[in-house]
Amino acid sequence: MATTTPTVPRPRPAPSRARSWRVPRHGLGLGLSTLYLSLIVLIPLAAVVEQSVSSGLSTFWDSITSTLAVNALEVTVVASLIVAAISAVMGTLVAWVLVRDEFPGKRIVNALIDLPFALPTIVVGLTLLALYGPTSPLHVHLAYTRAIVIVALLFITLPFVVRSVQPVLMELDAEVEQAAASLGASNAVTFRRIVLPALAPSIVSGAALAFARSVGEFGSLALITAKVQIASLVIYADIESGDTQSAAALSVVLMAISLVVLFVIRRLGARVAG
């Protein structure tokens, strides 16, 4: 996409009222967009960074190396990695079935994939509590364990990999696969050598989004993880107890983790795409 587009001579607009169609004339649009984004997003986030070091760098370091913070970060990152991995495998499988398979009710299943985006996260938490909590009809008691954290995160991140792999799989040329098969390649070999390399960038970027989302997730975990220390819940507890400095310090680390993952993935994706 980065090829230099030849400059086509544009028809000159009539000099009277017509202007060349550039919306942010005099940069007004750009200015307003930046102002809105600053007031709502950028200035508040800057305040978090400022607050995290407001009592000096050593306090910042102390708050992110406390046992509680380190434990919470470890649990959160490990759970998110597991979720990204399972999501990558199952998401690819679901996308495959939705693209290459035909069965009655496929359109309903396809619509269902977006359910986690539509369903409020607190409802997700509550549904899992109803299913795996103390009154579980299945007598499976996972509530307040690390296992239920994984289940909740798998639920809310389901669409990421499916929706990023699906379009790529649709575009994929079946003829190459047929050629491989006619040359004697087994299904396993065709999948590993032909299909997987083509899908890999979209699987990885979907999994990275799932990871980033998992690291910061709060709503679906709020009701079901009383005894498991998750980073976002520790931040919430710090805010509630008025310790905004610790909350801000942990927030900065959490944001850094998500941003680094997304940045690295984007770079990787750009390199693969050429």
Partner: protein
Amino acid sequence: MRASRRTTLSLRTLALVYLALLLLLPLGVVFYRTFEHGASEAWSWMSTPAAQSALWLSLIIAVIAVPLNTIFGVGTALVIARGKSRRAGRVLDALIDLPFVVSPVIVGLALILVYGQGGWFGNAFLNNGIRIIYAVPGMVIATVFVSLPFVVREVTPVLKEIGDEQEQAAATLGASAWQTFWRVTLPSIRWGVAYGVVLSTARALGEIGAVLVVSSNVAGQTLSLPLLVYQRGENPGSNSLIGVYSAATELAVISVVVLLIMTVFGSRRERTV
């Protein structure tokens, strides 16, 4: 790759069972728990004054936040796709994704630090009698924050895809920028805008983390529907469990409706692009 019938069937079964276990089974249990003692009991929990005002508050917040983000979203998408400065567009494009990356509780914390008591701008507002944090305005700003990227993300690719030839033509024929926008640009991006609006609405109605931090959580005043579910769910002792489940069912029904609209708009949008 021609999978054998057995492989196809087993893959299909695996995918469907995974989805059923992950998505449908838990939802089914909540519906069952809501109505296991009859619909009237569930209804009485949904129609308590606290529940009614929570539903209202959620709707009001969405009605303020979504139009704001729609106007901003279309404008920003135009800046990114059509703006003079490529570099400014790219920077804006990258920054827009921040709300997707930041944990909702961090959003709440950030707003407290700026608009709360002793915050960067907080005292200026408080001295004029405007309370933002632990009040409805803060909940609105938090909702705007978390639902900010959706419209931009949906509209920008459509704008890039359709190109600006028609807009140029309209300008050549003497249309003002404003006329060009309403008559040429907006009609061709409308399904993208609609899809973004639906996604923002879903997020606005369902947001909990960011709103929880900046709300005073007082029933009848600053308790949105998700917060009501959280509050009832946190103290199941003081409330019948049906109270929790019925509020959750209410939210779930709203989101299923949103999902249906999403599916319709999604397919329209794909057809036009």
